[in-house]
């Protein structure tokens, strides 16, 4: 028996590791192929002058220009505007919808009749299930400037004046368009977090004398720290990098970059510039900046929420 265990101990380190690596390999290969290599390529391209304007015959002719694209970027007056657009867009959408709104919907639907709660949550899922082109088309028709627009038609019927929603209030609608889709993700996570709190703990709080609001504040929210952190960081990053709805809705307009966000700029520069003038190198620089900002934010979140403290060490003693 003794010999047996020591023999096993000697062979243990190598064999199971090989098996483990073998199991990891398929995913690892995919990650390397479709994430690491593209990321490295983008970083490299961002340091070249690759663009249709410099094109001769083949890709191999691009020249390495170091950090020149970044110099251009940081002295680009529009980059500043786009940066603050992005900060505004992410902060407002996040707090009113993707995190704040999701939390409100999850808490409200958890405190009403189960079936009704389920119904309302299902309703909030619909925008996410809809094809984005159709969804955006509906919004466009809804808020078009006078004399068009469903809202304006209704205003007319009701006897109010018309409003140039599209021209004067475009940020409101860009945020609404994205926020209404964005609520469902946090809503689902928060709802399951609330439902996973033990029924006994929920009842204990009421018996101890709390109102429903006090229970939310002192018991439910503190127990949701981890899902809150997760949704906050995940949704920050996905808002930073997603541009599909804005592309379809305003394409960064109206006017000069009025609703242009950073990720959309990367796309515009690299792939959809005016007159087919694609600046792959310059666009990649935008993308790289976005990745760096994302990583910094993720680290910050982990720090702020003191992730380590969420894990406590048991010290069991006998009575």
């Amino acid at each position: 028996m003794n010999m047996n265990t020591s023999a096993r101990a000697r062979t243990a380190p190598t064999r199971p590791n090989l098996t483990a690596y073998a199991f990891l390999a398929p995913v690892a290969i995919l990650v390397v192929l479709f994430f690491i290599i593209p990321a490295l390529l983008v970083i490299y391209i961002s340091m070249t002058d690759l663009a249709t304007a410099n094109f001769t015959s083949d890709v191999g002719q691009m020249t390495f220009i170091g950090l020149k694209n970044y110099e251009t970027l940081f002295s680009d007056p529009y980059a500043r505007k786009i940066f603050f657009n992005t900060v505004f867009y992410v902060l407002v959408t996040l707090s009113l919808f993707n995190v704040g709104g999701a939390l409100v919907v999850a808490l409200l639907t958890a405190h009403i009749n189960r079936r009704a709660g389920f119904f309302f949550r299902a309703l909030w899922l619909l925008p996410r299930l809809m094809t984005s082109t159709v969804y955006i088309l509906m919004w466009e028709r809804m808020v078009a400037d006078p004399p068009y627009g469903i809202l304006n038609q209704l205003f007319g019927v009701a006897g109010y004046g018309t409003v140039a929603f599209n021209t004067n209030h475009i940020w409101t609608f860009v945020i609404l368009v994205n926020g209404i889709i964005g609520i469902s993700f946090g809503m689902i996570i928060f709802t399951s977090a609330i439902e996973s709190i033990s029924k006994d703990i929920m009842n204990a709080s009421l018996v101890d004398g709390s109102t429903a609001m006090q229970r939310i504040r002192y018991v439910i929210l503190p127990l949701m720290r981890w899902p809150l952190l997760f949704v906050l960081s995940y949704q920050t990053l996905s808002l930073l990098t997603s541009y599909e709805e804005i592309l379809l809705f305003t394409n960064g307009g109206p006017g000069v970059y009025q609703t242009e966000v950073w990720a959309l700029t990367a796309f515009h520069r690299a792939l959809s510039n005016y007159f087919g003038n694609a600046q792959w190198g310059y666009g990649s620089a935008f993308a790289v900046v976005l990745v760096i900002v994302g990583i910094v934010l993720a680290i910050l979140y982990l720090r702020i929420f003191r992730f380590r403290e969420l894990v406590s060490e048991p010290k069991i003693e006998n009575l």
Partner: protein, 359 residues
Amino acid sequence: MQVDIQNLTKKFGDVTAVADVSLDIRDGEFVAFLGPSGCGKTTTLLMLAGIYKPTDGTITFGERIVNLVPPRERNIGMVFQSYALYPHMTVFGNIAYPLKLKNVSRADQQERVKRVADVMGIGELLDRKPAQLSGGQQQRVALGRALVKEPDILLFDEPLSNLDARLRLTMRAEIKALQKRLGITSVYVTHDQVEALTMADRIAVMNKGRLEAYATPEDLYDHPRTTFIANFVGNPPINMVDVELAQENGQVVARCAAFTVPLDSERVRKAVAHGRKLTMGIRAEDITLGDDAALTGEVYAVEPLGREDMLDVRIGAESFFALATPQQRMRAGDRIGLHIDAERLQFFDPATGKSVLWE
């Protein structure tokens, strides 16, 4: 605080969890709700706590009907089987929580928490989180939290079920002593008949949402009104045999397929007056083992319990639990005589399950 429950009913859709339960609890009394899992004990308790609203009937605390009074206005303390401590709060935070909700000043909170914690013997643990405590310590914290606001009524939902056997014994005595000393009206839900018998002033036996009996432990044990109660209360479980009582040579005999035995006592005579076909109940401790007895059986299995051996004795197809001292050295296969104490027998109507001896 005295509690009065009248025709209490709770339905969840089609499921009737509690059906027409009526009972009163005297001020300072310790009442146990006893019954198998799913019989509606927790539902009843949560209605007392104000978490569930009764479908029908009334609950009265003192003079006040509380059916629609929210939990926070009932001044109750509750202890759960899962302890239900707030994992993100320290022990201090947990016990102080009911006080914080009542806007008790910081200084008073400190003092009252300290006092309760000392009573519960957890004064040293106030800075710990629940995850850093053993089960017994957690249950003490839960008890402290229930006591700290000096409740009018204490509710317990199987509070000892998650503890090991030894600790359960200690905590049982402690809770009972504490309750007696503080004189707080208490409702204690359990599926463990020993807990109910040892702790309660009165026991409410529940079965499928209905109240089967409401009586003192002694009364419940000695005068079971139904076969359900007789079966549920007592360890080892009471032996039940379907018999036919007949007069033979001026003597009453109980007859079944496996045996015929003469019986003579007041209870037997009372039973005979009610009918011939009856279910006869014999508790293990009312069977004495001896050589020259009217009944003989074969020991089928012996289960040593330490202080005594529990025997499974077979007579034909019938199986009986009996007790023997370890000194008797019973072995499987032994043939033994069984003396039945006829004064201690129970008789039930097999059709209704109701006792023919006690109303």
